[in-house]
């Protein structure tokens, strides 16, 4: 199971317009609708933000992994967004976030959901990985970088 298997280039926003986390989630969720797996976009966003209110997914190093188990998603989706200015995610280290991986999973896909969270957390611990993503200029590059570091 690899992150790159699920993240398609049209689920990536290379330059988020959003100035706050809600808008950022909306922007990436919008791209995910093309997956055909978002049964209810409004509910998905609501569930993501609700989960975020329980505990920030801004795990530090300017990354955030907002995620939710929600019936509004069929199966599993993952999207990516990059913000040059940085977005406030109430991160644990107080820093603004530049890299966002948005994930949604049907409650029955718990195993896959946890597996991806674990893989992604591990990748994001690597500063070289984060720096590569920050420098990436296209969605193609983002996928390539993930594939490269996943091995």
């Amino acid at each position: 199971m690899k992150v790159s298997e699920y993240l398609k280039k049209n689920y990536c926003v290379m330059d988020l317009n959003a100035a706050d986390k809600e808008a950022a989630v909306r922007e990436i969720a919008e791209e995910l609708t093309s997956s055909g797996k978002v049964a209810d976009k409004a509910k998905f966003i609501e569930d993501i933000l609700e989960r975020e209110s329980l505990g920030s997914t801004g795990i530090g190093h300017k990354v955030a992994i907002p995620h939710a188990r929600t019936a509004s998603i069929k199966g599993f989706v993952i999207g990516f967004g990059k913000s040059k200015e940085g977005i406030d995610f109430n991160a644990l280290d107080g820093e603004k976030v530049n890299l966002i991986f948005l994930m949604g999973a049907d409650p029955r896909e718990l195993n896959l959901y946890l597996r991806v969270l674990a893989e992604l957390s591990k990748l994001l611990m690597n500063s070289a990985f984060r720096e590569a993503l920050v420098s990436a200029e296209s969605a193609d590059q983002v996928i390539q970088i993930i594939r490269q570091f996943e091995k």
Partner: protein, 155 residues
């Protein structure tokens, strides 16, 4: 007829949806004699359950479901080969892993009814709730067995 409330344990260790994995592990470690941790909301309404199996789901997400049904296969599971990083301790919260569907004992039930329920669902412990879903305690199979021995003058 003995009501389940007469034998249940009322000092219940509970967590919230927002409790982090890190904090949850601390609680399990401290209270590992309570291998069932209820998840409640601010009104003490029961909304989920966490079992040690839910923790295994994190370590070996792909195999967890399989292991649950084939416990002897756990011998192959290399718990020392953890594929998780420290940030997971804060990233994962109870809400991400808890069982949202669960079996309970109702406060109106007798210990016979609760016992049957446990056997049917293969659970050794059940949360006892009132008509509003508020948690009142936890009843374990031992509590019921002990009471039966007491009735016969042995305990």
């Amino acid at each position: 007829m003995v009501n389940v409330k007469e034998v249940m344990n009322t000092s219940v260790i509970k967590v919230k949806r927002s409790t982090s994995l890190r904090a949850l592990l601390d609680i399990f470690k401290q209270f590992h004699t309570h291998p069932l941790i209820p998840v409640v909301d601010d009104q003490d309404i029961l909304i989920g359950m966490v079992y040690p199996e839910n923790l295994l789901d994190i370590l070996r997400p792909q195999q967890a479901k399989l292991f649950r049904s084939l416990p002897f296969m756990e011998m192959d599971q290399d718990v020392f080969d953890l594929d998780v990083v420290p940030s997971m301790g804060d990233l994962i919260i109870v809400d991400d892993i808890m069982d949202k569907h669960f079996v309970v004992a109702k406060e109106t039930q007798t210990i016979e009814q609760a016992y049957k329920h446990m056997r049917m669902h293969q659970k050794e412990r059940l949360a006892v709730v009132d008509s509003g879903g508020k948690i009142l305690g936890i009843v374990g199979i031992f509590d019921i067995i002990w009471r039966m021995f007491k009735e016969k003058g042995i305990a």
